[in-house]
């Protein structure tokens, strides 16, 4: 089996699906000849032509709105937003249109599309090349939100997303685009949406995370193990709809839960997870659920590693929660 990084896995998924399904088209800034600023769409225009791999003018709302029109018409667009930080001009089209089209038309107009976009910090990107805005999307009914943490899942989840009948926000952890490498099957396969993965079994504390944070969490889990704390690490993979069964089962087992995310704390997705755990596993809770998150500031440039949750901060939360 070939070893791929996330960029290669994404590229591979796009290529396979474009071959299999001629309705699939890719559009975005610099995705054509250049193959994307992260090269995730490299060689696709060469292979599939300018009509199926379109360089667009510089407008995120234009990219998403025209993709919606294509989806409504019967194509399967996979628009790319160069950095998720630039998605906001398209927010109206995402929240008011894509997310509501099926519903408001009484089911007449589904809007199947997959918005691919890199997210996250740790690349010296400052305010506007670093953010993790997943919670803005998870608060929006009608969207699905998917975040892979490695190449295998990236490919399998992207294929599932493109084939899904609803709009998907597919957030790619750009910090580990090239760093995360693993064996990835060559042909098609899918990883189903809405299913979390137990990345490591453990007895003492449940640790919930997704995307690039998974890797920081793995380190934290090792450190915690050294301190005698046995952590169950759950990779959510899909945030909306959430795999509630896996989460609650794990928390019922451990009685303790820590959530790690890059996004700012206030109203981040961690809050929802804590609320759900309270709702469904209150009597199992032996310690207060903890969040380890980015801070409630814009994302800073120089101090980004102080800003981002690191293995030490997560480890402390795990050990304290275990010993509570």
């Amino acid at each position: 089996m070939p070893v791929m990084n996330i960029i290669q896995a994404v590229n591979d998924a796009l290529r396979l699906e474009m071959k299999r399904d001629e309705r699939v088209v890719v559009l975005g800034e610099d995705v054509g000849k250049f193959g994307g600023v992260f090269r995730a769409t490299q060689n696709l225009q060469e292979e599939f032509g300018e009509e199926r791999v379109m360089d667009t003018p510089l407008s995120e709302t234009g990219i998403i709105a025209t993709a919606i029109g294509m989806a409504i018409y019967g194509l399967r667009p996979v628009p790319e937003i160069q950095f998720v930080d630039f998605i906001w001009s398209a927010f109206d089209q995402i929240v008011s249109e894509a997310a509501k089209f099926r519903y408001r038309s009484g089911g007449q107009y589904p809007c199947p599309m997959t918005i691919r976009t890199p997210y996250g910090g740790g690349i010296k990107g400052g305010h506007y090349h670093s953010q993790s805005p997943e919670a803005y999307f998870t608060h929006t009914a009608g969207l699905k939100v998917v975040i892979p943490s490695g190449p295998y899942d990236a490919k399998g989840l992207l294929l599932s997303s493109i084939r899904d009948e609803d709009p998907v926000i597919f957030m790619e952890p750009k910090r580990i685009y090239r760093e995360a490498r693993e064996e990835v099957p060559e042909g098609e396969y899918t990883v189903p949406l809405g299913e979390a993965k137990i990345a490591r079994e453990g007895r003492d504390v449940t640790l919930l995370a997704w995307g690039a944070m998974l890797h920081t969490c793995r380190k934290a889990v090792e450190k915690a193990a050294e301190a005698g704390v046995d952590v169950e690490l759950v990779d959510l993979r899909t945030l909306l709809p959430l795999d509630i069964g896996t989460v609650i089962e794990s928390v019922k087992k451990t009685g303790r839960v820590v959530i790690a995310h890059e996004a700012p704390k206030t109203c981040g997705y961690g809050a929802e997870l804590i609320a759900l755990v309270n709702e469904k596993a209150f009597t199992s809770l032996a310690a207060p659920p903890r969040r380890v998150t980015g801070y409630d500031t814009p994302f800073p440039y120089t101090l980004e590693h102080e800003y981002l949750p690191d293995a030490g901060r997560i480890e402390e939360a795990l050990v304290e929660t275990a010993r509570y």
Partner: protein, 376 residues
């Protein structure tokens, strides 16, 4: 029309009929078949009747909300006539005539307005936010302008598929100020997408007159910013609208790209049933425009062509009243609410656990306590 970019200083107002309904520009006459001419007139009369009746019903509390298109009938029907069955429409809220022309039934129309159990949209959207897939009349939403670049995306899809479909999108003068107008026309210009942009310039965006909406003298000239043709047409002249619309659709289908049509008309009524224009505009202005009434002008035209008679008018009006009354009665007889469970459907293709859980909780609650209301 030449494929070349329209020079902005050459954007005269295209007219076919004069105010008395006589053909003043025979070269421009779209030569619509007799049956279609009469059908156009019939739909104009129907629209006028609906506006009067439904606004009254709204005032009586029998309808939650309504928006008239009084005075803008020619723009709707002239353009609708030119569209082919396979073409797609991305409408705004003020073109019910286009849907009715294409076969939207009166009863479904009313059920949508009532949001009742027979509403094809399952009571989810406000009145006048229709959606009729079988005639390619795409779901209307309230945010102004969002449909414009969506139409361009659909047109691009049709272009890629080479299926001969053209796309039309409708919007008001106020919508030209939105982001979506700009990005829609810009993408269309680059792609040369088979898309026709129909701007109903009715002079007002709620209380804001065109002079406060843009510094440009016309809407048509905005096309020049995107390297596409812009046409200015008398929006109260159904034949002129039909003519420029047909040309624009021909260009689209011939691979010559998009066109912006500015149909100059007037919003005679309030913005919506919630509005009170007396607070912001001189009542003499709508009065003046009554003299340029598109329905009357079209009637005079039919009369001049001996396609109209008082007897036919009477028959027509009676038929319309009968049809409307029957459809209204049928619609009002429907249960006023769709089933509660339907509220949780169509958010996604498959209902996820959390929606099923919420649905069950609500149904349990209603079972315990009875229907919602003061009693709760």
């Amino acid at each position: 029309m030449a494929a070349a970019v329209q020079k902005p200083n050459e954007t005269p107002l295209v007219r076919v009929l004069d105010d008395e309904g006589r053909v003043r520009d025979p070269k421009r006459d779209p030569e619509i078949a007799t049956g279609d001419l009469k059908r156009i007139y019939r739909h104009m009369v129907l629209l006028r009747h609906l506006d009067e009746r439904l606004l009254r019903m709204q005032r009586q509390g029998r309808l939650g909300f309504y928006m008239t298109s009084t005075g803008e009938e020619a723009t709707q029907l002239g353009s609708a006539w030119a569209l082919a069955d396979q073409d797609w429409i991305f409408p705004s809220y003020r073109e019910p005539g286009v849907a009715l022309w294409r076969g939207y039934g009166l009863e479904e129309f009313f059920c949508q307005l009532f949001g009742n159990a027979a509403d094809p949209l399952k009571g989810r959207q406000m009145p006048v936010h229709h959606s009729v897939a079988r005639i390619h009349f795409v779901s209307i939403s309230s945010p102004v302008g969002t449909q414009i670049p969506q139409a361009v995306g659909a047109a691009r899809a049709a272009q890629i598929r080479r299926d001969g479909v053209a796309v039309a999108t409708y919007f008001g003068d106020g919508a030209t100020s939105t982001s979506d107008f700009h990005v829609g026309l810009n993408f269309a210009g680059v792609w040369r997408a088979p898309c026709v942009f129909v701007c109903r310039n009715n002079g007002w965006a709620i209380s804001v007159p065109l002079s406060k909406q843009t510094g440009s003298a016309t809407i048509a000239q905005k096309a020049f910013a995107y390297g596409i043709p812009g046409v200015r047409v008398d929006g109260n002249d159904a034949l002129a609208v039909a003519s420029v619309m047909r040309e624009a659709l021909e260009r689209a289908r011939a691979g010559e790209g998009p066109t912006l049509i500015e149909a100059v008309t007037y919003r005679r009524g309030p913005h919506s049933s919630s509005d009170d224009p007396s607070a912001y505009r001189d009542p003499s202005e709508p009065k003046r425009w009554e003299k340029r009434d598109p329905v009357e002008r079209f009637r005079k035209h039919l009369h001049a062509r001996e396609l109209w008679s008082e007897a036919w008018e009477k028959e027509l009006v009676e038929e319309i009243q009968r049809d409307v009354a029957a459809a209204l009665e049928a619609a009002e007889a429907m249960p006023p609410k769709p089933p509660v469970a339907s509220m949780f459907e169509d958010v996604y293709r498959e209902m996820p656990w959390h929606l099923a859980e919420q649905r069950d909780a609500l149904q349990g609650y209603l079972a315990r306590r009875g229907p919602v209301g003061e009693a709760h």
